[in-house]
């Protein structure tokens, strides 16, 4: 995605390099936060705070090779902080208001591939949201691991570094998370076949 040179330049105070890093990593951090909260506003908040923190502290980064883990660590911490705040002060995002059904849904706009059949896009988005809800039913510590492994493609070692826990603990959390997800999916009667039909 980017070379160590870019990170080294950003570390040395190069504003263009820092801007470039934001462009490169914003989507990943936003999506991590979005999957964690299933809330656009909270995800935006956490992502912005993460990059402000990156801008302030990147000068102190010692090993450029650990940039990814370092950035995810910041994101994880802000997500946890937002989760704590959100627990005490519950609010509903406009984005999460009932989107309506069929053609009235604003989720037409969120389709990932405009060239696809609009109906298929809508179904895809709805299925994604349904699964996303299943994900939010997991305890936060298991959710973090699942998102980082399944959607962000981090290795177990990297996740262990980000969360500052052992690799075995990460694997253990992953196992119980998948087990729990299996139970949630069974409860909601979501199977591979039904997904195949939806898609």
């Amino acid at each position: 995605m980017h070379s160590d040179t870019l990170i080294a330049r950003a570390r040395d105070g190069d504003k263009n390099a820092q801007g470039k890093l934001v462009q490169l990593w914003y989507k990943r951090i936003y999506n991590y936060s979005y999957k964690f909260f299933f809330d656009h506003d909270l995800a935006m908040e956490a992502a912005q705070k993460t990059f402000i923190s990156m801008h302030r502290n990147v000068g102190g980064l010692q090993d450029c090779g650990k940039f990814k883990s370092w950035l995810y660590t910041i994101a994880v911490n802000y997500c946890r902080e937002e989760l704590r705040k959100n627990k005490s002060n519950r609010s509903v995002s406009l984005h999460d208001l009932k989107p309506g059904e069929g053609e009235d849904s604003y989720r037409w706009e969120e389709s990932r591939n405009r060239s696809e059949n609009p109906e298929s896009q809508l179904r895809h988005t709805e299925l994604s949201d349904l699964l996303q809800k299943c994900l939010t039913e997991l305890p936060p510590e298991q959710r973090e691991v699942v998102i980082m492994k399944e959607y962000e493609g981090l290795k177990f070692r990297e996740i262990a570094d980000v969360l500052n826990i052992s690799e075995n603990t990460v694997k253990s959390r992953m196992y119980y998370a998948l087990d729990e997800l299996k139970r949630i999916l069974d409860r909601k009667q979501i199977t591979k076949e039904s997904i195949g039909y939806e898609l």
């Binding site: 462009q23 989507k27 699964l131 119980y176 199977t191 591979k192």
Partner: protein, 281 residues
């Protein structure tokens, strides 16, 4: 086979991160435990289903970053701030010192800090330096003489007091000793008498006991001696009888043997005489 994979191994298997050896072990385990394999497959299916979550498209916000290091005025730099702070502290200290009238002196290795007005210290004249050596010696001598006299007087006084005290103590002690002696002499006659009586009684009792004990023991001894003697006699008698019987039987045997020999001799003689007669005929 006691092998049972833990959740870490199962997850590593699910993500294809197991080494060949472990993989083989696990495959064998799954062959023996198909229900475990089914469970792992269900987890893999859950993974597949969850993979249908899409990434949200998002546009990174424009980055406006202020450059702290270049645009900052010089008076806001850390060095200037520190310098100003130190200078202000010194100034404050100097004003405070002026207000409270603090002064600091240093002369001939001596430092002094004073507050308020300086008071004149009275100068001491050096009286000692006017005295001559003879005068000092005379003073020391007279002082020593006075001191000796004082000590001698005090010693004599102490000696006298000590003598008096010893004398008094001796008188008191001798009186006490005499009293004790008197009491002891009065008490001793009765005590001796009772002691001697006690001693006589004790001796008498012990003699009596001894005699009784010795007569009883002698009696026992004599009895046992007599019993032993009678046993001895009986034993001797038995032995004599046995000996006599043995001898008698021996004599009997000898007699029988003699008898037999005699008979044999006689029969021999008879047979030899009968033979001679037949030859003669």
């Amino acid at each position: 086979m006691n092998y049972k994979p833990d959740e870490n191994t199962l997850i590593a298997y699910l993500y294809g991160e197991l080494d060949e050896k472990e993989q083989e072990k696990l495959t064998q385990y799954f062959q023996e435990h198909p229900e475990e394999l089914k469970h792992v497959q269900a987890l893999a299916q859950a993974r597949d289903i969850m993979g249908a979550i899409n990434d949200k498209e998002v546009i990174a916000p424009p980055v406006f970053m202020d450059d702290h290091s270049h645009g900052r005025p010089i008076w806001q730099s850390a060095t200037v701030r520190w310098g100003t702070a130190i200078a202000a502290s010194f100034l404050f200290l100097m004003v405070a010192a002026k207000l409270i009238g603090m002064e600091i002196y240093y002369s001939q290795g001596e430092a002094r800090i004073t507050f308020g007005k300086k008071e004149a210290v009275p100068v001491q004249t050096d009286a000692v330096s006017r005295l001559t050596v003879d005068q000092v010696q005379t003073m020391i001598r007279s002082s020593l003489v006075k001191n000796n006299e004082f000590i001698a007087a005090r010693w004599a006084d102490n000696q006298r007091k000590l003598d008096e005290s010893i004398r008094n103590r001796l008188d008191v002690n001798s009186k006490k000793t005499e009293d004790m002696m008197k009491n002891a002499s009065l008490a001793s006659q009765e005590q001796i008498r009772s002691f001697v009586d006690g001693l006589q009684n004790e001796n008498l009792r012990s003699m009596k006991d001894y005699l009784q004990l010795s007569s009883a023991e002698q009696k026992k001894y004599v009895e046992s001696l007599l019993v032993d003697f009678s046993k001895y006699l009986q034993e001797q008698r038995n032995q004599d009888l046995t000996l006599f019987q043995t001898r008698m039987s021996s004599m009997e045997r000898n007699t029988d043997q003699f008898k037999q020999e005699t008979e044999q001799i006689l029969s021999g003689i008879i047979s030899s005489s009968a033979g001679k007669k037949e030859n003669n005929y």
